[in-house]
């Protein structure tokens, strides 16, 4: 649970419908996210959870519906504007820049905050050098936070999966986001790694007040750390409430376990 006091509604998703060709990925989804809270999105595979995040991020454009962030309403999001507004995300299949090392990957998350122009960078004196160093300091603090110091110069393609996931998180954190969208951050991890990741997520929420929207399959994790939960199944919303409310919801149970006929 978040230790901060939950604030007002920050992100409001209304009636989002998304289809690819004939396949309806999302049907009329509505839910909201309050400031400082940890909101989980759960559901069986193929329920449309990643598609939902992709809509918020501007990777997909929904055919219907709107998204309101801090009072401004959009019917489709533009990736860059979303990033500028302070919404960052990690990816289910990792979208790291394989050609770069850990530092450069996380530094790339700082790009919106880098203001020097191309000529200053080419000469690399004065403002450009100072800027690089200042951002390098921030990135190093993130690296310390995520405990990946030993691998900072390693090309990310050579890191094991669990560490790559941390770099993905680091890059999102580098954007100093207000909302962090995490797409299955604990997939493929063992218990210790999961505990570490939970700790990072909770610390981020605690220390920086970042609102977290989290897609996760591990029910233990979801019930433990989230304030409210949205349940999707086959692109439709079938549950919305606190973990306890959702846990005892008939529809949710049957979606996961199947009903007996």
């Amino acid at each position: 649970m978040s230790r901060r006091s939950i604030g007002e509604v920050m992100l409001d998703v209304k009636n989002i419908s998304l289809s690819f060709g004939g396949v309806k990925a999302l049907t009329d989804i509505s839910f909201n996210v309050r400031e400082h809270e940890i909101r989980a999105i759960i559901g069986p595979n193929g329920a449309g959870k990643s598609s939902m995040l992709n809509c918020i991020n501007g990777v997909y454009t929904p055919q219907q519906g709107s998204i309101t962030f801090r009072g401004k309403t959009f019917d489709h999001m533009n990736s860059r504007e979303v990033a500028e507004m302070g919404i960052a995300r990690t990816f289910q299949n990792l979208a790291l820049f394989k050609g770069m090392n850990v530092i450069d990957n996380i530094m790339s998350g700082r790009n919106l905050k880098m203001k020097t122009n191309i000529f200053q960078q080419a000469l690399r004196i004065g403002a450009a050098e100072r800027e690089e160093q200042a951002h390098r300091e921030v990135v190093e603090r993130i690296i310390d936070f995520l405990e990946i110091q030993a691998w900072r110069k390693t090309p990310v393609a050579r890191l094991p999966y669990g560490l790559q996931k941390r770099v993905d998180l680091g890059r999102a954190l580098a954007m100093e986001p207000q909302v962090l969208l995490l797409d299955e951050p604990m997939a493929g991890m063992n218990i210790e790694e999961k505990q570490d990741m939970c700790r990072f997520v909770l610390d981020v929420n605690d220390q920086f007040g970042t609102t977290i929207v989290l897609i996760e399959h591990d029910m233990g994790v979801v019930m433990d750390i989230s304030d409210r939960v949205v349940v999707l199944d086959y692109g439709k919303k079938i549950g919305d409430g606190t973990p306890d409310e959702v846990r005892s919801n008939e529809e949710v149970i049957s979606a996961y376990l199947g009903t007996s006929h």
Binding site: N54, Q92, N93, A95
Partner: protein, 309 residues
């Protein structure tokens, strides 16, 4: 109207010939995911083989009968192309399974340089003739409709017909045979195809041989028209816009693209060329393909590339 029709028909036929060369590209790309820059060099190599064999057979064996000589030369040249396919598979492609596109591209570029040099060493670097009996006199069609009739080059016409037949055959092959399916699987993912038991090496030798066959036919036709000389390999560069326009993975695309480029080129040279100082043929095809790509990046019939995140 008459001249316009002449230009149009001429363009269609030239376009068909471009399609033939483009086919070679499409085949190899469809089956191995490799963009074969060496296709042009293969056309030249095949044409050289054909031309020289046609010379050497009468000289060495004393056979004079033209059809027989050409047939034997064709078979020999085809044999050379199959050997080439085997060599390429063994020493180049086999070592580069599942490498990135750029690496493979450069490998084919290397093959180009090699074939240029090797071909000239073995077969000589003069200009050679190919004569397979394609009729060369021009025909005049529709003499009663248009004054003087429409001039149609018979050689180009027969070439166009041959090309069309070949294209139809290959399209059917890919679509309806088991080998065709296997080839498409290989193009998608080398390792996955291997893992389900598709014999990668044999498939590649088959594909490059078929491409070699296409190159040989193209080489004979173009060589018959232009003479077998170095500039023949530049013909392949003309086929690139065709491939782009039609989509790299589509055999019908190669046809349609070829026709569009052929017609476009001829018409632009006749009607726009004089305004720009002439000689715009060398880049018009590319400009056309480029404009097209901006509207439809995957070409007319190409598969849309979807990035999943």
């Amino acid at each position: 109207m008459g001249p316009f029709l002449e230009t149009l028909i001429g363009g269609l036929m030239t376009g068909m010939l471009y399609s033939l060369v483009a086919l070679g590209f499409v085949l190899i790309f469809k089956a191995s995911g490799v963009f074969n820059f060496a296709q042009g060099a293969m056309v030249l190599f095949a044409a050289l083989a054909m031309a020289r064999f046609a010379e050497w057979i009468p000289a060495l064996l004393g056979i004079e009968h033209k059809v027989l000589v050409n047939l034997m030369a064709f078979i020999l040249a085809m044999g050379v192309m199959i050997m080439l396919a085997w060599v390429v598979e063994r020493f180049v492609l086999g070592k580069l399974v599942n490498q990135e596109g750029v690496t493979l591209l450069m490998a084919t570029l290397g093959i180009t340089y090699f074939m240029d040099g090797f071909g000239q060493t073995v077969f000589g670097s003069d200009i050679y003739k190919i004569d397979v009996g394609l009729p060369k006199e021009p025909m005049f069609l529709l003499e009663d409709v248009f004054q003087g009739g429409i001039l149609v080059n018979q050689e180009e016409l027969s070439a166009a017909i041959i090309a069309a037949a070949l294209v139809a055959l290959l399209a059917a092959f890919f679509q309806y045979t088991g080998t065709g399916r296997a080839l498409r699987a290989v193009a998608d993912d080398h390792q996955a195809a291997q893992s389900i038991g598709i014999p990668l090496e044999r498939i590649w030798v088959i594909v490059w041989s078929v491409a070699g066959f296409v190159a040989l036919v193209a080489g004979i036709i173009w060589g018959s028209k232009l003479g077998v000389q170095f500039s023949l390999s530049q013909v392949a560069l003309k086929a690139l816009p065709v491939v782009i326009l039609g989509g790299l993975t589509s055999v019908p695309g190669a046809i349609v693209g070829g026709l569009i480029i052929g017609v476009g080129e001829k018409l632009s040279e006749v009607y726009i060329g004089p305004m720009l100082g002439g000689g715009i043929e060398i880049w018009f095809a590319y400009a056309l393909a480029l404009l097209f790509l901006l509207v439809r990046p995957q070409g007319l019939y190409g598969e849309k590339i979807i990035d999943r995140v």
